[in-house]
């Protein structure tokens, strides 16, 4: 499995990095920070976490910080409303079941990569 | 306030039956009584005889199962709370003081039936409150917190609140219960004074001698029914009292006041 993940990482390494915020719902919105499983998955799939400076793996985030952060793409759980001030930023739903680490992880990384770089040749 | 302008009785019941919901027992049975305006009327009887129920019926707070109760000639149940509170002031047996308040605040509540949601008390309201306090010899208590009053002081203050309603009629449920001799006398003198100003007073009491001495008429209730009704001399007789209270008594004339004096006897073994 590690080999398969390395494979995904290599393929996306040369593509331009996408600054993405991972919203996992809640009021105030919660985002994935460094050291989280989702953060690592984003890295493998060719993205940079817009909240790499967060001090916790998961945490709430102030709506005004969210509104002023430079973000290329919002990755959110289906059903999470897009917060105020972010409607101009493209948004994609996180693949279902992505939050649970396990054998589906390789598929999750692949589908995340597809969301980040839909135009890249596979 | 024109007290007792209606020609008929101020308080009246006709063949009144009262039953509380969910209970098969009648608490009042075939009670007919009438209180003339400007008189002091006392209701006597053992605990549970129906004295408080009679008050509730006269105020329209319980619906008669049969017969009717009238306040100022109008069926008691037809009075709206606000109009009723202008006609009759009531001093209930007890009340709870949930939050701290002063005597003046408590007595000012007697003005409620004259105020609307947005109006604030006028100079007249304040002077009525002050008069009521003076009348009850409680003017100096005005700034005191209610929970610091003695039993006698509190009772005078509650009567002042009822008087602040400027009612034609005052109804008091055991106003002298748990008061000592001097405070009891103060209340009785005060009620006599209220009657002499033209108002009607109905009270319940366990104090037979004082009731006989200060009342114009008495009603003796026994298990919800009228045992005797009339002047103190008519009602306070040993035969009726023994039957109602289940205790031997003798009735003599008090050498000082000349009114009936009830002396309970030791029970024969």
């Amino acid at each position: 499995m590690t080999r398969a993940l390395d494979d995904v990482r290599r393929r996306n390494a040369r593509l331009p990095r996408i600054r993405a915020a991972i919203l996992i719902g809640g009021t105030p919105p919660w985002v994935a920070g460094p050291g989280s499983y989702l953060d690592e998955l984003l890295d493998i799939a060719g993205g940079d976490n817009a909240f790499a400076d967060l001090e916790v793996p998961f945490g709430s985030i102030s709506p005004e910080v969210l509104a002023t952060r430079e973000i290329d793409l919002i990755l959110a759980n289906a059903g999470t409303p897009t917060p105020l001030g972010l409607s101009a930023i493209p948004r994609a739903d996180l693949p279902a079941g992505i939050e649970v680490p396990g054998p589906g992880m390789v598929d999750a990384a692949r589908s995340l990569a597809l969301i980040l770089h839909p135009e890249a040749p596979r | 306030m024109p007290a007792g302008v209606s020609p008929g009785p101020e308080l009246e019941t006709r063949t009144l039956d009262v039953r509380y919901p969910g209970s098969p027992e009648l608490v009042l049975r075939d009670v007919s009584m009438a209180v003339a305006p400007g008189t002091l009327y006392s209701v006597l009887g053992p605990n549970g005889a129906g004295k408080s129920s009679l008050i509730r019926a006269l105020l329209g707070l319980v619906r008669p199962a049969r017969g009717e109760a009238f306040l100022a000639g109008v069926p008691a149940a037809d009075w709206r709370p606000r109009e009723r509170a202008r006609r009759v002031g009531v001093v209930p047996q007890s009340e709870a003081f949930q939050f701290p308040m002063t005597v003046e605040e408590l007595v000012s509540m007697g003005r409620y039936p004259y105020l609307t949601a947005l109006s604030s008390p006028t100079a007249k309201d304040r002077s009525v409150v002050a008069d009521a306090l003076t009348r009850c010899d409680a003017a100096e208590l005005a700034p005191r917190p209610v929970d610091t009053l003695s039993g006698g002081e509190l009772q005078r203050v509650r009567i002042a609140r009822a008087l602040a309603q400027e009612p034609a009629t005052l109804i008091l449920d055991e106003p002298t219960a748990s008061l000592d001799l001097s405070h009891e006398m103060e209340i009785m003198e005060l009620l006599r004074d209220v009657v002499s100003s033209g108002r009607t007073v109905l009270m319940t009491t366990h104090h037979l001698d004082l009731a006989g001495r200060y009342s114009d008429r008495l009603l003796l209730l026994n298990r919800g029914a009228v045992a005797a009704e009339g002047t103190p001399a008519e009602v306070l007789n040993a035969r009726d009292l023994e039957r109602v209270f289940g205790w031997p008594v003798t009735v003599t004339d008090d050498p000082v006041t000349g009114t009936p004096r009830v002396t309970p006897l030791a029970r024969e073994r």
Partner: protein, 328 residues
Amino acid sequence: MTRSGPAALSLGFALVASVAISVGMGAVPLAPGEIVDALRGVGSDTARMIVVELRLPRALLAVLVGGGLALAGAVFQAMLRNPLAEPYILGISGGAAVGAVSVLALGLTTVGSWTLPLASFAGALGAIVLVFGVARRADRSMDVRVLLLSGVVVGAFFSAVIALILSLSEASVVRSAVLWMMGSLAAAEWRSVLVVGGYTLPAALLLLGLARPLNLLSLGEETATVLGADVERVKVYAFGIASLLTAAGVGVAGVIGFVGLVVPHGVRLVTGSDHRSLLPLSFLAGGAFLALADVVARTVVAPGELPIGVITAFVGVPLFLVLLRRNR
């Protein structure tokens, strides 16, 4: 009454100040000049976004919700003649939570951002209908003890329903539900301010109109009746309006504890328990208190936020103890 004039002035000032502080402070530092420019409609888009679209509506919503909860709490304490009464005592929070958790579990939040507040408001209304229905069935005159008991029982039932839904839900739903139950004003926007304001202010005015009968009711129902209050009608209005007020707050901000319990007591300690001053002052104090609590909630762990219920308890308890000490 003598102390309520100055108290009203200082609380009014505190309310304005708390809104100003709310607009001035946040996770993103802004200079006073930037804030003033943003309020005048000039300046950078970012500052305008933060000040006009995020901070200002959030401050106003805090005032409306905090004021409404404190006012409802004062009314519940008077009606139930119980100093421990608070706005959620009749199971309203449980009903609202069932509504919110259902929407989260069914994934209905995709439909629109209004589904969650609307569902929790509907749940709160359902709780009110249920609690009053049960109480009314047991006792036609709406004995407050029966009502209290009915609220506790219905609340316990809702807790079981919530536990059932959550135990069948996936982790992300559980997290969202728990966060919702701790309360937050982060969802504030102008639309919610207008809806809640258009609803809270008339309700508050109606409750203020009940101040005199509430004074009488503190002496007991029998005394209130003979003093001229229409006790049955007052009960229906006071419980109904205070419950609806609570439902609006819980719908838009989740369950925010403590404000409705302690603010009325704090006001009572300072100005006495005459409801003519207690009710309006509770609204002012509750509004200012919640606005300030929200400032703390969104700045102490910036860029994160704390649930506001944590702040209301942490700030409110010491504040209340100081008041209690000073007045003994």
